[in-house]
Symmetry: C2
Subunit: 413 residues, 2 copies
């Protein structure tokens, strides 16, 4: 497994402010990894609302099933995340393991079992020994502090090469509220809830159904628009928590998603999701290039998304980018195989702003040297103009390198 940091990693991490009503702690429970933290406990004050979106996999992990069921209660007091073991495809043992973990956490925190949310990431199919959380969670509940968000993001990493955090401060009514998020990638990343795990926290007083609506709306063009390898995980989980503590600073309580006072908040919230989603693409396994695919002129946005995903998931397109080759022929192939309306003779394709193909053939002004130079950039933008309608969409991915094969050909051992 590679341990070098992705060359696409952000140059610095943002300062993560404390959020009133949220405390956290990390520990090394020795679930799988040596010499690193692998358990995160997030403590949430009374009155915290919760929302979540999950993998569409027909074989979801035990923690995904746990969270889905507990969302109905609309309130959260704790989040327990472990890395190293996904507790997926673990049968009855897996279910027992989630119950036992939640019981342990509930005792440590002093809350109901149903107010504990769980997420696990790592190997699939290995039983998770939840007894390892005994003692660990109790100690964490005592030691938890409002700081060390970066440490939290580190504790949930698997093949990630850097921790992923994002933050925003925005006005809600006349009060400033904070949104903090963290995520982990980096393989088995595909649409339909595109990251394995991501958690967002705010002190804004937002009712659970509203938070759920924001999350559903925000995920579509952020996490669901990122793909590393087209492989949808069994564990994809995005949870949002709102402690409501900003009400004491005068933030209005929001009980309707259509509340006009939410406008700036929604923008900031979506910005945090987009930031985290881009970091997931930047830490795609073996990634050396960040690839932005823009499809415009499609019949609908949905059609543009499907075509963009067909390009983004094409091994031939991804390997060409790894080879710094503006191989627009493979882009044509990927457009053609998407099954969506496309007219070869109206198609234009650009790489990093340089048009290489137009009206169904090579652009007459195409200059190989100019394009080759542009392909050396760390970021490659592929723009496809279909010339059919007004549908437009954007998807992020990364290149496919030998390193991806190396990482995944030797992951379990």
């Amino acid at each position: 497994m590679s341990s070098a940091i992705s060359p696409l990693a952000p140059k610095s991490f943002p300062d993560m402010p404390a959020i009133a009503g949220v405390r956290l702690g990390t520990a090394a429970a020795g679930i799988r990894y040596k010499n690193r933290t692998d358990v995160l406990l997030m403590l949430l004050d009374k009155g915290t609302t919760v929302a979540g979106v999950f993998t569409t996999s027909k074989c979801p992990s035990a923690p995904v099933e746990w969270c889905r069921a507990k969302l109905k209660g609309k309130s959260a007091r704790a989040l327990v995340v472990n890395s190293g073991n996904a507790n997926a495809f673990t049968g009855k043992t897996g279910k027992q393991s989630t119950s036992l973990t939640a019981d342990t956490a509930a005792k440590a925190v002093g809350c109901k079992t149903g107010e504990v949310f769980l997420a696990s990431t790592g190997v699939i199919g290995e039983p998770l020994d939840a007894r390892k959380f005994n003692g660990v969670l109790g100690a964490l509940a005592t030691e938890a502090t409002p700081e060390r968000w970066l440490e939290a993001a580190k504790a949930i990493m698997t093949t990630d090469t850097f921790p992923k955090v994002a933050t925003a401060t925005v006005k809600l009514g006349k009060a400033s509220v904070i949104i903090n998020g963290m995520a982990k990638g980096a393989g088995m990343i595909a649409p339909d809830m595109a990251t394995m795990l991501s958690f967002v926290f705010t002190d804004a007083p937002i009712a659970a159904p509203v938070l759920q609506a924001l999350l559903k709306g925000g995920v579509e063009d952020t996490f669901n628009a990122v793909t590393i390898d087209g492989d949808t995980s069994t564990s994809d989980t995005l949870l949002a928590f709102a402690t409501g503590a900003a009400a004491t600073k005068g933030a209005p309580k929001i009980s309707r998603a259509s509340d006009p006072r939410l406008k700036a908040f929604i923008k900031a919230f979506n910005g945090v999701l987009a930031d985290l989603a881009e970091q997931v693409a930047r830490d795609g396994e073996g990634a050396r290039k960040l690839v932005e695919i823009i499809v415009e002129g499609a019949t609908t946005k949905k059609s543009a998304r499907r075509i963009a995903m067909s390009i983004a998931n094409s091994p031939l397109v991804k390997t060409a980018i790894a080879g710094e080759d503006a191989n627009w022929g493979r882009v044509v192939m990927a457009v053609g195989k998407a099954g969506e309306p496309a007219n070869r003779d109206k198609l234009s394709i650009s790489f990093n702003g340089i048009r290489v193909a137009s009206k169904g053939a090579r652009d007459p002004s195409y200059d190989e040297a100019e394009v080759s130079a542009a392909m050396k950039n760390e970021k490659v933008q592929i723009k496809v103009a279909l010339g059919l309608g007004k549908g437009r969409d954007r998807v992020l991915t990364c290149d496919l390198t030998k390193e991806y094969v190396a990482i995944n050909g030797d992951y379990r051992s």
Copy 2:
């Protein structure tokens, strides 16, 4: 580009018999490659019927559009195939190029332009200079012989590491008829007409609509059940030609697909298609393992196919096999993401006959050492039992190696 022969290549080539009514010739027209043949001319006697199936790409190559249109004439006198340039995404020039090539061939052969069938494979987006066929086709028409089928298969190769041929001899009525086929892979291979190019010839007297029905029926579980990288080509073409010459040996003329005398012929015909399709998988770019995926107990055959394809196209499953890792967790992931009915707690998974997972968890008798040893085989069979119904299907693919990335990261240059 790799030049080593795939370790999965057949140990020997079959002797390809002559087929009455078919002659062939190859030449080096210098379209792209140096020091190798790149043009194939197949001459077909009067009365030859033709059938074809093509890529479902919305951006098909000019030769694909040419063949689709000419199939209506139901008769063929010549097939011209070139490698090195796919004549795809070449706009009006591409269309002119197909017309010019067909004109040149028709003059050389002495037939109508509409009786000439065309196929091109190689780079997409580069104009194909059809003037290079001038003289070449004339000479080939004169020199063509009934032998040298292996040479024909060599002339149509691109990144293929070995030529792909198959043959069968079977009774039709009381006469023996011959079926010869050739194919080329090796990347941009996905369902919906899974090879870039394949051609099958027989001396059986079979009417064009019957040949079309046989081809459509035969392709479903052969070429359409093979995937290398999930990337459907713009050029996928499978053509079948029946000269009818065996009528002089007493073979009955077949004008209905339901003719009971066809039974053995259909079996042999499908066998040739299956043989060629497997060779395409065996020559998948960078392939080191042939992977057979069997899904059973699905609700329908179609559902089994979709799940098998989801497994076969998963980069995480394919890299695990490259690493000789029986990573059934990734198989669970691929089953889950297929979107088809599946019940985690009824799922069983075997690698090369060794059950590793059953009823939604690791098999109790699982022995890592035994499985590891089995994964060293050149052929890996993954069997998934869903336990839901009687739907069953089988798909062939190969592993995903660093070599695939190397081949495709540096193909154009």
